[in-house]
């Protein structure tokens, strides 16, 4: 392992001089700089990152905490796209990414506290938030830089990047109503997630504003898995008065819904219409192609990193939360009247 001292010795200067060459200190003579740089190059010297951050108290690393259970997340295209946004922006800004996950949810705070108090990272990105999230509580109390990809009611001062998920769900539901549907169901995600909650609120709001019936049995809560969608369908379709359209919390779940319906012998959108959220690449390739709300997943990740770096740098935020715009992409799965007419 070649260190700064080795370079110094070989160049016949002191370690401090080498250090200053590396950091382009203005008072280094061009000649020395050239000589030292040549030797560094020749020896393949890179400053030891640990030593550096020990004195600079900065790591050029962002922590990303995968929520529990991580399994669910990984099986979702959504995650890959989000991660892409995160990695792209972090790399561009010369930051590395440290990924951790806890082995159990009771271990979550411990895991992050290791990162934070061990000064392992300069800031933390929280992917998704529970409605009462101990991680947010911890990071707030520690006054450690973090950004929440999502929303927290309990900590309105937390820096957040999110969609307006109430509006997102409202738009999706309103679209179905505009298509003539009057009985609309909702396949939701885990109820303790802010995301599920917000979308549920939007769905309810849309029904209410149009004075449509809201039935408890038309709402099913599950996971972000295809299975959940699949199971929800056997529940729904056995009802005497079943919905004619369904809002689904996530495309992945919607794939399960489609499969469930096809196994039960129903056709989409003729027998029942579907809209879902996130608009992953495959939505377009489903049969039928899924109507879905594009929530700007890549931009979500990208922006979150941007905000986090701002927090770390102590720069002011223009606004909080940052709301990423969404857009309803209408495809065949919800083209009920039009489709039937044609």
């Amino acid at each position: 392992m070649v260190t700064i001292k080795d370079i110094a010795r070989l160049a016949g200067v002191s370690p401090s001089t080498v250090s200053r060459v590396v950091s382009n200190h203005p008072r280094i003579s061009p000649e020395t700089s050239r000589k030292v740089k040549a030797i560094m190059e020749e020896q393949g010297y890179h400053p030891n990152v640990m030593a550096k951050s020990l004195v600079s108290k900065t790591t050029q690393t962002l922590g990303i905490m995968l929520p529990r259970p991580a399994e669910e997340l990984f099986q979702n295209y959504f995650f890959g796209e989000l991660l892409r946004g995160i990695v792209t922006q972090a790399t561009r800004m010369n930051y590395d990414l440290l990924m951790t996950t806890a082995t159990s949810s009771s271990d979550e705070v411990n895991t992050i506290s290791r990162l934070v108090r061990g000064r392992r990272v300069d800031g933390v990105l929280l992917l998704g938030s529970k409605r009462d999230d101990p991680l947010i509580a911890f990071l707030s109390k520690e006054q450690f830089p973090f950004v929440l990809l999502g929303r927290s009611e309990a900590y309105p001062d937390a820096v957040m990047v999110d969609n307006n998920n109430v509006q997102v769900a409202y738009d999706a539901t309103a679209h179905l109503i505009a298509q003539g549907h009057r009985r609309i169901g909702f396949v939701s995600g885990p109820p303790d997630l802010t995301l599920s909650h917000d979308r549920m609120v939007g769905y309810r709001q849309a029904l209410e504003e149009h004075s449509l019936e809201m039935r408890g049995e038309w709402i099913v809560e599950g996971e972000f898995l295809q299975e959940s969608g699949f199971r929800a369908m056997s529940q729904f379709m056995n009802m005497p008065e079943r919905p004619t359209a369904i809002v689904v919390i996530d495309d992945n779940v919607a794939f399960g819904v489609l499969r469930g319906l096809s196994e039960l012998g129903y056709r989409v959108p003729d027998d029942i219409s579907i809209v879902s959220f996130n608009n992953i690449a495959l939505s377009e390739l489903a049969s039928p192609p899924l109507t879905s709300v594009d929530i700007g997943t890549y931009q979500l990740g990208y922006t979150a990193v941007q905000s986090l770096l701002r927090v770390i740098g102590g720069e002011p935020l223009h606004q909080n939360p940052v709301i990423i715009p969404h857009r309803l992409i209408v495809r065949e799965s919800s083209m009920y009247p039009t489709f039937k007419r044609s």
Copy 2:
């Protein structure tokens, strides 16, 4: 920031004693240990990771280098599942994961050299390998612990975790032959990837052994993207003598193939049969469900971490490369004769 010195002062002992309490040194009296631990707890003390690794020369961190272009990878379910295997095993073994990617392919070696020479990580996981990969060359030369998720001909001593991709493709192709197909095409990935190369070899081997015709125009190379599959179809289906079955490099690409065929008005498997690789969760939900080779993606990631930790620990490897078993999952997309008969 509370340091070991603060704890020492509050407990009325020396920093070395605190350090020894943390590491459960046998010569610490139970009483001291109790006292110090109480104070650590009260102060929320965690050892500074940087300082620790500066002296221990170990980081408890694994680097994972995302290949260029990262975009392609992220759009693939395959990646999420692989990452899940990696994260799970790393977390279980108390290692963190550092993700980097290069901004350009010329920057790849630089990026990894920063990690390696900066002693930022204890070992590196290389996801996928090009046939002549400068990263492998670099890591080999540096004698830095790394594991290749894939295969390298140029560096047979590198530690590798891989499928037998020749056999994988052979099995898939042989299955089509067994179904009665005689004209079989291949939609491949980027030719410089070992993966594409190996699967191409397996495909060729199967054809050869059954004395089937091998036509250059029946082979198309593309990216791991749906678009590639889509485009390949317009090429194939315009040929006077087109294949009756196609082997596709990846499920994601196969989705594009399916869409292409459906837009051109062909039915699968009646008009043309499809088999592909990786067996991502959605293969089952495609229409028709995709025949695909399950390559044990999760296990691939999981095992790679295991191997890497073994290399880092200087433990002997039982075998190299470690070959993860695969299994052909036959679904409707290749059920040509059966399907037609029924």
